[in-house]
């Protein structure tokens, strides 16, 4: 149960939307798919699902091209654009069509409608649904065939706080059941809360493919915050380090650790009132990573 993307490229005329992208999405994890708007996340997902043709490269799901699957809903569930449904059908009819295409018993339709909390709206036409309800309907469609691989494109868009919390729990439990979950977002804070791994792209290119923790630790060094009444003496002791003075009695030490700073202060006999590592948020790491990618977007 994996998604393998290899050298995936898509050009629209002169514009390269996705540029030689390679990564794997592994079972049992929620993989966040990050990038600024227009980075190529949706185009990549559409190519994984066989909706758009790659200019070069390939995307495979469970070792095969998606377009070769005979009952794709049983292997891959996906939600791209929740508004891309016929508004005249009822939510239930929409899912019954889906069930029929893949030979799934229609009893399953009512199950997933209940699972996403839409059973009361199931017999209403979709044109009366809010965006959040359409999201839930799309998620119901993704879960319909009980697939091992799931793709969600910006699934929290349009959801209220309850819905957001529900999605987080759902993604977590799907991964904990051993499924492969790829979820795109441009909101770092969201991915920080839910994803085990992150694939970051900018301007169609891979920027990072790592665990969430590593992304936060490894990119942009940790900063140690230290307060002391003898700041000048500590500055002397930290010679050779990158130190910024953040106040009369406060220093910020880059690319170091609290253990190192504490030891140096002890050796120099400088008393400390405060010693901590500032946790860099994924947001900051992400902005540092994609800064270039965004910067150039205006010129492309």
């Amino acid at each position: 149960m994996t998604i393998e993307v290899r050298g995936l490229t898509r050009r629209y005329g002169d514009v390269v939307a996705v540029d030689d992208l390679s990564f794997d999405v592994l079972p049992g994890t929620v993989t966040g798919f990050l990038g600024p708007n227009g980075a190529g996340k949706s185009t990549t997902m559409r190519m994984v699902l066989g909706l758009d043709r790659p200019t070069a490269g390939s995307a495979r799901v469970n070792g095969r091209a998606f377009a070769e699957l005979r009952a794709p809903l049983r292997e891959v569930g996906a939600l791209l654009d929740p508004g891309a449904v016929h508004p005249g059908r009822t939510g239930r009819a929409h899912l019954r069509v889906a069930a029929r295409t893949n030979g799934i018993p229609t009893a399953r339709v009512d199950e997933v409608l209940a699972q996403v909390g839409l059973e009361r709206a199931a017999r209403r036409r979709i044109k009366g649904y809010s965006l959040g309800m359409k999201q839930r309907l799309g998620i119901a469609g993704a879960l319909l065939g009980d697939p091992g691989v799931l793709l969600f494109d910006e699934p929290i868009n349009g959801l209220d706080l309850d819905g957001v919390r529900w999605i987080r729990g759902l993604l977590r439990s799907l991964a904990d059941e051993g499924r492969t979950v790829l979820v795109s977002s441009h909101l770092m804070s969201e991915v920080q809360q839910t994803a085990d791994r992150v694939v970051v792209i900018g301007r169609g290119r891979l920027i990072a493919d790592t665990t969430t923790g590593e992304l936060m630790r490894g990119l942009g060094a940790r900063v140690v915050r230290v307060r002391t009444p003898e700041a000048d003496a500590l500055l002397e002791a930290l010679r050779g380090h990158r130190v910024a003075r953040a106040g009369v009695d406060e220093l910020h030490v880059s690319e170091s650790s609290s253990a190192e700073v504490g030891a140096l202060a002890h050796a120099a006999g400088v008393p400390l009132h405060h010693l901590s590592e500032l946790e860099q948020s994924l947001e900051e790491a992400y902005l540092a990573l994609t800064g270039d990618a965004v910067e150039f977007a205006g010129h492309g």
Binding site: E68, A84, A98
Partner: protein, 249 residues
């Protein structure tokens, strides 16, 4: 392959009947056809010199001529509504084998529009027969076969155009132009070459098969059948190629 195609057809069946536009178009076709049949029957009965012994089925082609467009609209919108709403994206996620989707949609929409159209034409004949009683006869139902062919070829053309143009307005306008407007309009200008163009349009063939008009332009039944089939196959080939080769939409 058979099982996959069968369940794709089943899904297409549900898809077609779960939107209101299908019901509206069919209701419009039914009302138009039976209304015209009733009037034709009544007026036949009221004629000073009634055509005693004429087959009541002669009403069928007359009612189908205008009402076919409501039936063809079912076929066009069955395809193009998905592009207008974006519904083609989940559709192709569920059925990524595009040729399978294409043929399932062709088979289901064509069968529904043709079978119902012929059934309506049949009941129209009965309506006319009752309304004109005892003037008309129930012999010679073979004309219903012609009606079936014209509807079949027209629906195939409509589905093909829908896949090719991916637009409801474009599809409906295309069907109207090819089947009604251009065949009627082009000969009116009096240029021979325009009339020759009109003679190879599918609408001219359809009208000729249904009404044996226009006479004197050298049209034949066999030629009209071949021409309609060529148009239908051409539109299907174009629509299939666009569906299979292009991005989802």
């Amino acid at each position: 392959m058979g099982e996959l195609f069968a369940r794709t057809c089943a899904a297409e069946w549900t898809r077609l009947w779960s939107v209101r536009s299908t019901w509206w178009f069919l209701a419009a076709a039914w009302a138009m056809m039976h209304g015209i049949a009733l009037m034709a029957g009544v007026s036949t009965a009221g004629q000073p010199d009634p055509p005693v012994g004429d087959p009541a089925w002669g009403i069928a082609p007359i009612v189908v001529l205008p009402a076919q467009f409501a039936l063809l609209a079912v076929a066009v919108t069955a395809v193009t509504a998905e592009y207008a709403t974006g519904g083609i994206v989940p559709t192709l996620q569920w059925t990524p084998r595009r040729s399978v989707l294409f043929w399932a949609r062709v088979v289901v929409t064509t069968a529904v529009a043709t079978v119902l159209g012929v059934a309506f034409a049949f009941t129209c004949g009965l309506v006319g027969w009752v309304a004109a009683r005892p003037i008309l006869d129930l012999e010679g139902a073979g004309v219903l076969g012609t009606v079936a062919f014209v509807l079949l070829a027209g629906t195939l053309l409509s589905v093909g155009l829908g896949f090719l143009l991916r637009s409801t307005a474009g599809g409906l306008v295309g069907v109207f132009l090819l089947l009604l407007v251009l065949p009627a309009l082009l000969p009116q200008f009096g240029y021979e070459w325009l009339t020759e163009i009109a003679d190879v349009l599918p609408g001219t063939s359809a009208i000729f098969l249904l009404t044996e008009e226009p006479s004197g332009r050298g049209l034949t039944e066999r030629g009209s059948v071949v021409l309609m089939l060529v148009w239908a196959v051409g539109a299907l080939a174009g629509g299939w190629a666009r569906l299979v080769r292009d991005d989802a939409g």
